[in-house]
């Protein structure tokens, strides 16, 4: 078996600036055989390596059936991501993966799919939205809830407008601070739960964002009768090896890098929201 800790060279074919601090790298492995064998599920992540600097875990946002390229949307937050922001089409990086467990998209078929996100960097669930929209007939109603601090933080803004015009789709967006011409709610996204139209017994909820926001969302949703096993969330912890060895992402009896990053709420609720874990 190939060394799971060894990166493979990938080339940036396209770089898209999504916002002043967020960009997308569209990548292809330079070894055609490795590229052809690469398979992933939405919600899984790769370790991206910048030569001489280091590795970061970043979720894969493109469609799993796109055989041409795979995409990573990255926000500039630290040393490695700042370095990645300088790269251009044609540059090479190291990529290993995919790792972890993704979203339960198979079991969500024929159900209402509700996607809840807060804050910046919710690329993991945008991949879910795109996945569902491309396979619309397999799913029932689609509910999208997105909260941002400032309206300027919302990336893919035209997409939200487009999604809201689609049949059987409800889009609820909120910004704590709204600029001029902000068409959506001003306030916290969790204030919009009363507007959600959802069949609690036939729903699959997928969320990511700050844990405080997710806890409020879980409370609202379980109150509406949605089972804890139907609520999935993407957890974030320090991940350095991605193969369950380095210990940084240990969370109770789990390692986020391999038992997650997507968990059902039931599987994390014992420690969820407890400061220090």
């Amino acid at each position: 078996m190939a060394d799971p800790q060894l990166p493979h060279e990938a080339q940036i074919l396209e770089r898209v600036q999504e916002s002043p601090t967020i960009f997308t790298l569209r990548l292809k492995f330079t070894d055609p055989a490795h590229h052809a064998a690469f398979r992933f599920a939405p919600g899984q992540f790769n370790m991206l390596y910048l030569h001489g600097v280091g590795e970061v875990p970043i979720s894969i946002v493109s469609d799993p059936q796109d055989e041409r390229l795979f995409d990573h949307t990255i926000r500039v937050v630290g040393r490695v991501t700042r370095g990645f922001a300088q790269l251009q089409a044609g540059d090479r990086i190291g990529v290993r993966g995919p790792y972890g467990r993704g979203w339960p998209l198979k079991s969500a078929e024929n159900r209402v799919v509700m996607v809840v996100t807060g804050g910046l960097g919710c690329a993991p669930v945008v991949s879910v939205i795109n996945y569902v929209i491309r396979r619309r007939e397999r799913f029932r109603r689609l509910v999208i809830m997105q909260g941002v601090k400032h309206s300027d933080d919302l990336i893919w803004r035209e997409q939200y407008a487009r999604w809201s015009g689609m049949p059987d789709t409800q889009v609820l967006v909120a910004a704590d601070v709204g600029a001029t011409l902000w068409p959506w709610h001003v306030g916290h996204v969790t204030e919009l739960f009363d507007k959600v139209e959802i069949d609690a017994r036939n729903a699959a909820v997928m969320m990511c964002g700050p844990e405080g926001m997710m806890q409020v969302a879980v409370d609202h949703l379980t109150e509406r009768g949605i089972a804890e096993t139907d609520i999935y969330l993407s957890m974030e912890r320090s991940m350095q090896c991605a193969v369950g060895l380095c210990g940084h992402c240990q969370y109770g009896g789990q390692f986020v890098c391999q038992d997650g990053p997507v968990f059902s709420y039931r599987d994390v609720k014992a420690l969820f929201g407890k400061r220090g874990f």
Binding site: P4, E9, H51, I93, Q240, G244, L245, K274, G276
Partner: protein, 368 residues
Amino acid sequence: MEAGFLPRAGFQALLDALHQSGYRCIGPRSRDGAIVYDTLARVEELPRGLRDRQTPGAYRLEQTENPRFFSWANGPQALKPLFFAPVEPLWRSERATDGALGFTAIEPPAERLAVIGVRACDLAALRLQDRHFLEGRFADARYAARRANVFLVAVHCSHPADTCFCVSTGDGPRATDDFDLALSELDDGFLVQAGSDAGRALAARLALAPAAAAQQQAADREIEAAARRQTRSLPSRNLRDALFANLDHPRWENVAERCLSCGNCTAVCPTCFCHSESDEAALDGGHSRHLRQWDSCFTPGHSYIHGITIRADTRTRYRQWLTHKLGSWHDQYGRSGCVGCGRCISWCPVGIDITEEATAIGGGGAHG
């Protein structure tokens, strides 16, 4: 299997037999005031007559007239650094002038090690490190390479330190399995018992005399006495529920006021496995080595994610260590991560005692 008797004067023959079989012998040596494991060529290098005095926050060696080589409990190192290297390169990245990147795995040198003087607690810790590094979803190639072909010579512990509590964790003082040879030390020599085919083959080359019943009884009595001498204990072998029911116990704050968050406990712990990864780039930028190095949950970096430190204070770091070691380990590895070696007690600069803290927090029902 029947034990054989190896007179003290014949101990060099054991080392020679291992050398002739292609092993590099690693054994206890006295260095810088402590027992450490290092290359062992001659029997004279063993810590003859040395005793260790260990109390919370203190470790001292004393020379005695006793002829024994193993009349001490342990030193700061267990077997951990032999197989899980404190720092090692994982791979190398090379950048060509046209920007192309190439990655090459770096494997540790192939070497056959024989380790002399392994304690029961350290064998238990080795089993846990094996479970973590070899039996998970992804086996670690570098640990596996170091661990392969190792020959283990256990020595039953007859001189536990005041800090030892292996009886309460169920891991000692007698080495019960997973060794190639196990020795009981008596004043005039050793009872030798084989625990594997490799051990039987080696024992056969030593021309051992059959052990007398009286010798066996004397050896057993020493191990039983060693067990009785231990005064420390954990309140239970499974503290998971008791600790997680007490996450807001005031004792966490109390221990945080004493703890320096230095990470000594995790460095000497034979089961702690956390490590961080980093790059060591050449100045010309042409190549870079990707390293891993022991890390500790007592550092701020351990829980850092993009601007957030999940465990910014000592209270949450100590709680993380203890609830993982004695709690979540049960979920992840089927048992507690503590083998009762007592190192974290002796090597803690302020003498924090894991058995006291665990008893205060998890020893009696839920708190408030």
